[in-house]
């Protein structure tokens, strides 16, 4: 299959800090490919290298066969980028914002206007096209960022955290639109720290952590890395956990551990062990039992020992921090 993006040993170091550490992957034409990882994993730095804004310290990448190091101008004509920041001008209308982008990509007059109309309609913004952006909602602003990046019909589209900070409804809306993009034969590279997003949208996923790609494959392939399901048990009295672990080990040998204040049992299928587990649990004051089918979050925990997203409410802070890092 033809490759839209080929990344070879791409590395970016800031002094001693290696933000992106010899990553390699390939994206097929027409594919939706996700870089999934926590904040600060190096996703945005990767995008800024692939989009020719930052020069790699080492390695190279090819967009439709053109090097991001030696053929930057050609690469810029082929790509569209929807950055994590909300960049559209508040003081201008959505239409004006998109029109500026069309013109910067060399489209003129009628043709440019047609493209802007297409792009805004595609992103469901046409009804609000002539309103000032400052009147837009968060979801509309995000969609406008994407509209600004697809107006010139790029071969490869980079979407950097396209739904960060949005409510579920707006997020689903954007997901639907991204799926539509695929029909237009645009190759999409998406970065996200939402595992549902990667799972819902991607043909293939690369899990990235601390600047390194630690796993790559279709969501199904990745989930197959975890065998079976997990049962999480939380007790009212945390001291009882050790005792419970011993008891559980007697019934279901060698697959349990205590992690972050809860008992984790790895099983092939929960339905087989539940009857015996219930007997053991009846003597404990259980406040929560969670049975989790394999998902990408679990894959990340399995591979790194950490959770993909930190405790709730982190988004805003991290987001600002990311922006600060980008601005440097």
């Amino acid at each position: 299959m033809e490759k839209a993006v080929v990344v070879k040993n791409l590395t970016k170091a800031y002094g001693d800090f290696v933000a992106v550490d010899h990553i390699s992957f390939e994206i097929n034409k027409g594919e939706i490919f996700s870089l999934l990882g926590p904040n600060g994993a190096g996703k945005t730095t990767t995008i800024s290298m692939l989009s020719t804004v930052r020069r790699p310290t080492e390695g190279d990448a090819f967009i439709m066969g053109h090097s991001i190091v030696s053929e930057r101008y050609k690469v810029r004509k082929l790509i569209g980028v929807s950055p994590q920041d909300l960049t559209a001008d508040d003081e201008l209308t959505g239409y004006e914002n998109v029109l500026i982008m069309a013109k910067l990509f060399g489209h003129r007059g009628r043709e440019a206007e047609e493209r802007v109309r297409w792009s805004l309609k595609f992103m469901d913004l046409w009804d609000n096209a002539f309103k000032k952006v400052r009147e837009y909602s968060g979801g509309m602003r995000r969609r406008l960022e994407v509209a600004m990046s697809i107006v010139h019909n790029p071969s490869v589209l980079f979407l950097d955290e396209p739904t960060v900070g949005l409510d579920v409804q707006s997020r689903r809306h954007i997901w639907d639109l991204i799926r539509e993009l695929k029909k237009n034969e645009i190759t999409v590279l998406l970065t996200t720290h939402y595992m549902e997003e990667a799972e819902e949208l991607s043909d293939r996923v690369a899990i990235i952590d601390r600047g390194k790609v630690i796993a790559i494959g279709t969501p199904e392939e990745l989930k197959a890395k975890i065998k079976g399901e997990r049962i999480y048990i939380r007790l009212r009295n945390q001291e009882g956990l050790g005792k419970l672990l011993e008891k559980v080990n007697e019934v279901i040998p060698g697959s349990s551990s205590i992690s972050q204040g809860q008992l984790v049992i790895k099983v092939g299928s929960s339905s087989e062990v539940l009857p015996s587990l219930v007997k053991v649990l009846s003597r404990y004051d259980v406040i929560e039992i969670k049975i989790v089918k394999p998902n990408l979050e679990e894959v990340f925990i399995e591979l790194t020992g950490r959770e993909l997203k930190e405790e709730g409410g982190f988004d805003k802070f991290k987001f600002v921090m990311n922006r600060r890092r980008m601005a440097r």
Partner: protein
């Protein structure tokens, strides 16, 4: 490149026009300078004691006027100051144009532009031209205000005089906004940018003939003022609008053009270098 530069310049102007408060804020500073400082420094009444006999009054004011003309080239210090302020205002606007870019970098717009095939020089020039449009607009407002407050144009003023004064003001704008935009491309911290602005703003205004004539200054300050393009622009504006004699007219133009273009080119290279280096 021309279309891209034009597109981005129009963006700058549209953004500026939609910021409603900026007009008043921008006009108010030079207005204070003109109205309060320029109008209150009435040397004739300041220097005339009230208790001298009336027959000497006329003689004294004649003497003071003679002194003023030899010093400022006009009896109205307001007119002298206002013509200098035209140049200083162009300089101020240029300097603050750079700060605007530092904000825009923060918002991520510059990054977005850098991901497009837009020529880097076009990105730079649109910033400079956007500032220039603002300057031209505000200068016209300022001129109207100065006229209303009693600006004394020289007799026999022609359109050529206006054109020459305008070009001198534009050159100051091109040079300084070029330099400051170039600096801004290299700076990510708005506080550092403002520190730089403060560092050059007042010294460059005072070390020039914008507020006071060079011959009133200590010689070391004269030395600095003679390197300052604001001095030459102010001299050219005065020569054209109020008829202050200028012995080295052609030389003044040559120096003004030379320094302004040099600043613009240095800024251009500093800006492009910053964009390519990241």
């Amino acid at each position: 490149m021309i279309t891209e530069t034009y597109t981005l310049t129009v963006r700058e102007v549209k953004k500026w026009l939609s910021r409603k408060g900026s007009f008043i804020v921008s006009v108010i500073t030079p207005l204070f300078w003109l109205g309060l400082f320029g109008k209150s420094l009435n040397f004739v009444s300041m220097l005339s004691p009230s208790n001298i006999p009336p027959q000497y009054q006329a003689m004294l004011s004649q003497y003071i006027n003679k002194q003023l003309i030899s010093l400022f080239g006009t009896t109205s210090y307001f007119t002298y100051l206002a013509s200098g302020m035209f140049v200083v205002f162009s300089f101020f606007q240029s300097v603050f144009g750079g700060a605007n870019l530092v904000f825009e970098k923060r918002l991520g717009y510059l990054n977005r532009l850098l991901m497009t095939p837009t020529p880097r020089s076009g990105i730079f020039l649109s910033k400079v031209l956007g500032t220039l449009v603002r300057i031209l607009f505000y200068e016209s407002v300022l001129l109207a205000i100065a006229y209303a407050l009693g600006f004394a144009f020289k007799p026999g003023l022609t359109a050529v005089n206006f054109l020459a004064a305008g070009i001198a003001i534009i050159l100051i704008g091109l040079g300084f906004s070029g330099m400051l935009v170039g600096i801004a491309f290299n700076i990510d911290n708005i506080e550092i940018m403002f520190a730089i602005i403060n560092l050059i703003n007042l010294p460059l205004m005072f070390a020039s003939s914008a507020l006071f004539p060079l011959k009133q200054m200590p010689s070391w300050l004269q030395g600095i003022a003679k390197l300052n393009p604001i001095t030459y622009a102010a001299d050219i504006v005065r020569y054209n609008l109020i008829g202050t004699p200028l012995s080295n007219y052609v030389e003044s133009w040559a120096i003004l053009i030379g320094i302004s273009i040099a600043l613009l080119i240095i800024g251009l290279f500093a800006g492009i270098n910053a964009m390519e280096r990241m």
